[in-house]
Symmetry: C2
Subunit: 145 residues, 2 copies
């Protein structure tokens, strides 16, 4: 079963309807898995195939996909929220970003490197960790030359 089918099932499970607009947005997200698009960028891309769509629908759909749990949000402090599709919840948790200060490229780190740190914090601060958000800023291989 492909990603779109999987997603359709997830939506149906939760009682939501599958509309051309939602399908178009999800298709854009799948085609741009590693791009971390903002709502405005998604809007521009979706309008190519679906010119009548409104920006509010993009925002509402992203909210919906977030509720269903198939996207993860990324805040790069550039004034907008960015999204990536992420069908596997484990993936989204064990997942960090390297952000190049020079070319703004974003590199995904798929391993989870925080296990031992989390245990340490759990112990020292008696804080029950449920999720984390880790970003590294610096220079990518190309830009550090």
């Amino acid at each position: 079963m492909n990603t779109m089918e999987l997603l359709k099932d997830k939506l149906k499970e939760t009682g939501f309807k599958i509309t051309p607009q939602r399908r178009a947005i999800v298709e854009i997200l799948i085609k741009n898995t590693d791009k971390h698009l903002s709502s405005e960028e998604i809007y521009d891309l979706v309008r190519v195939d679906c010119p009548e769509i409104g920006l509010a629908t993009v925002y509402r759909t992203m909210q919906l996909l977030d509720d269903v749990g198939v996207i993860s949000k990324l805040n790069l402090d550039d004034g907008c929220i960015r999204y990536e599709i992420c069908l596997d919840k484990e993936d989204s948790h064990n997942h960090h970003h390297l952000i190049c200060k020079n070319c703004s490229k974003i590199i995904e780190v798929k391993e989870d490197l925080l296990d031992s740190i989390e245990r340490q914090i759990q112990e020292t601060y008696k804080f029950e960790i449920m999720d984390h958000d880790l970003k590294f800023y610096g220079l990518c291989e190309d830009c550090s030359k």
Copy 2:
């Protein structure tokens, strides 16, 4: 030399003037070191002693303090940027946050726990790390009972 004196020197060094508004804002920041206030919250607190101040001045002063490098920004995805005064640059780098999903309390983690992870990433991804941002979400000691 106390914090305010230190700050005055830092400002003078860079050619900025010390005005009553700026002093009042810095005093509020010092009094609320661990509170992570937003611009609006700073504005409300400053107006108690300095009722004629404008919100724009608060924004401009935070921008200035950021340029001078004495505050660090914290984005909790609650729709505004939060600040904490942070005179020592090393402190600001080696500094993480635990955010309670129940009571919204923020706990500071002063140690830097990322050294070995940074070396690992540096090696694997050939990415030259300059800074990082690490947040843990979960339940604080009181709320996890």
